[in-house]
């Protein structure tokens, strides 16, 4: 998914310079697969200050390729801020005519915001590329399959570690929205509000199919070595690149692509197979960039976690039954042009919440950017988030 570029000086509405921290856990974590992680660590960042009651914590759950660096910059010369920087910052009500300087929806003067890298990730938390203490080598293919349920359980451990009992809110888009939903199911007493954005109660067959193509691209890359490419000092870049290119196609809408690239050429027709269309150029750039910085084993696990999540499964497909103990209040949002996690999928969540007589508001935000819209600072979308978050009592 696209990152927001905001190079330049730190703005007053930014969380400013941030640093990550690591929490180590020695108590074993039983995973949904039945495997046990005897110990693990999670890398996280926080923005704002935890209040005396510890009642103002908000956790941001990341999607497929996200991480703990949600907002702010590590150094003043960083080109990119965190992946959801446009959501989070102190509301100082600074007078400005520049929309980029306006207050952000999630106010760090009010909330204590936590971003973390999920288990199995490749940005500092325990994952396939981290070193197994037992062998002194990267886990590689031996790192267990982790699920949305496992992530939420590990996030609950992080809350315990931080001394936080209850979340004022859990926020997530896409795969992050699944975690937000799972939080309310697994820990009904620990979540006051859930913001489930551009998400779904499970993946459609079409979505699983996209994930399978992405995985096949990675796993059939000769450099994959059954997941133990670290030992061969290589990475399956070609596979990862194709996986990411496919992903990017599905995150955008046909209209957004048409508007951004259309049939624009870089130069003239060359009657060959080099990059000729702007669209190709964009995809190759995104693919190369991603393949250079993301771990293939992590990508496999993140897509699998998406495939597996289905809280209604053990209730015979009845999502309302799966939500019967939920207590949180919900804001569910979808985007009109999102075909990867379509509004119809969000409406399934809403219907189950209505059946359970839970407090819920739902909006279908008119947006052209497809699934990626949840990361964009659309004025109406942000007005909704701002209004909802302002009303949360801490």
């Amino acid at each position: 998914m696209t990152k927001n570029n905001s190079a330049g000086a730190i703005k007053p509405n930014s969380v400013g310079l941030v640093a990550s921290q690591t929490a180590y856990f020695d108590a074993p974590l039983l995973l949904k697969s039945g495997e046990i992680l005897s110990q693990f660590h999670l890398v996280y960042e926080t923005y704002g200050t935890l209040n005396a009651d510890k009642s103002n914590a908000v956790i941001i759950c990341h999607a497929l390729s996200g991480n703990h660096h949600v907002a702010g910059k590590y150094t003043e010369i960083d080109k990119n801020a965190g992946w959801w920087d446009n959501l989070i910052g102190p509301n100082n009500r600074t007078e400005s005519n520049n929309p980029l300087d306006t207050d952000k929806p999630l106010d760090t003067n009010k909330f204590f915001v936590i971003g973390l890298n999920n288990l199995g990730g490749c940005h500092g938390s325990s994952g396939p590329s981290s070193v197994d203490a037992a062998t002194g080598k990267p886990f590689g293919a031996n790192f267990p399959i982790v699920t949305v349920e496992d992530w939420v359980n590990s996030q609950a451990r992080l809350l315990d570690y931080l001394g936080i009992k209850t979340l004022a809110a859990v926020i997530g888009g896409s795969l992050g929205g699944m975690q937000a939903l799972q939080w309310t199911i697994a820990y009904p007493e620990r979540v006051k509000h859930a913001l489930v954005i551009a998400s779904a109660p499970n993946l459609t067959a079409q979505n699983i199919a996209f994930n399978e193509v992405a995985r096949q691209a990675i796993m059939t890359d000769p450099e994959f070595y059954a997941g133990d490419y670290y030992a061969h000092n290589t990475v399956p870049k070609r596979g990862l690149r194709i996986a990411r290119m496919l992903g990017h196609i599905t995150y955008l809408s046909d209209d957004a692509m048409g508007e951004k690239f259309g049939r624009k050429l870089k130069d003239t027709l060359k009657y060959g197979f080099d990059v000729e269309f702007e669209m190709e150029s964009y995809l190759r750039y995104q693919g190369d960039k991603f393949a250079g910085e993301f771990d293939a084993n992590t990508y496999l696990r993140m897509t699998r976690a998406l495939d597996y999540y289905d809280p209604a499964l053990e209730y015979g497909g009845d999502l309302s039954a799966a939500l019967k103990n939920v207590k949180a209040q919900f804001l569910v949002l979808s985007f009109t042009s999102d075909w990867r996690f379509s509004p119809a999928r969000s409406r399934e969540i809403v219907k189950a919440l209505l059946d359970t007589e839970l407090t819920v508001s739902y909006a279908e935000v008119t947006a052209a950017h497809g699934h990626d819209a949840f990361l964009m600072p659309d004025a109406h979308y942000h007005a909704i988030l701002r209004a909802y978050l302002q009303k949360i009592e801490i």
């Binding site: 209505l354 059946d355 819920v360 508001s361 739902y362 909006a363 109406h380 909704i384």
Partner: protein, 209 residues
Amino acid sequence: MVNITKNNVNITNFDLKYRQDFAIIAGWISFGSKVLDLGCGDGTLLQFLRSSLETKGYGVEKDDANWLACLKNGTNVIQMDLEAGLSGFENQSFDTVILSQTLQAMHNTEEIVQEMLRVGREIIVTFPNFGYWRNRMQITNGSMPVSKTLPYQWYDTPNVHLCTINDFDQFCKNHKITVIERKVITEGQEVSFMPNLLGNLAMYRLKAS
């Protein structure tokens, strides 16, 4: 006028002279019941019902600005198009489903009323009475009616299914809908004599037969 000062109601924000329809609706809803308001606008009616009768429930609204106004005033609001039906709501899951001054703008008129009867144990439908004498006068004078209740020009109106009280009575009969109660008001006053001629706003409390 319906007495709604019981239950320590705060009605200071509501001008009941012009919201007599709210007072009548409140009289048809019991304390603490579960209400669904279709086309709820900025949520004023639901706010009123919450504060006067401690109702719970949801509004349905399509317009972005109205939807956001609901969110801001604490009304649970679902953004959807009523023309698509109420498939997001279970059978008989609400005590009362309200369609306030929206029926005339619906394309799928029969479907929405049937859907309301499916979802609600009772339903309330209100609409501007096209048979109101002032409307008839304007037509007699050769023009489509334009008034405070029907403020649109013929070429720029959301109202596609205007009807009279007689028409709606017949509609209920044809569709086997029981009229529990009917009230007709003009300028905040109840009208009992020749309602189809003298009534401006028609209000029906209905249930399936």
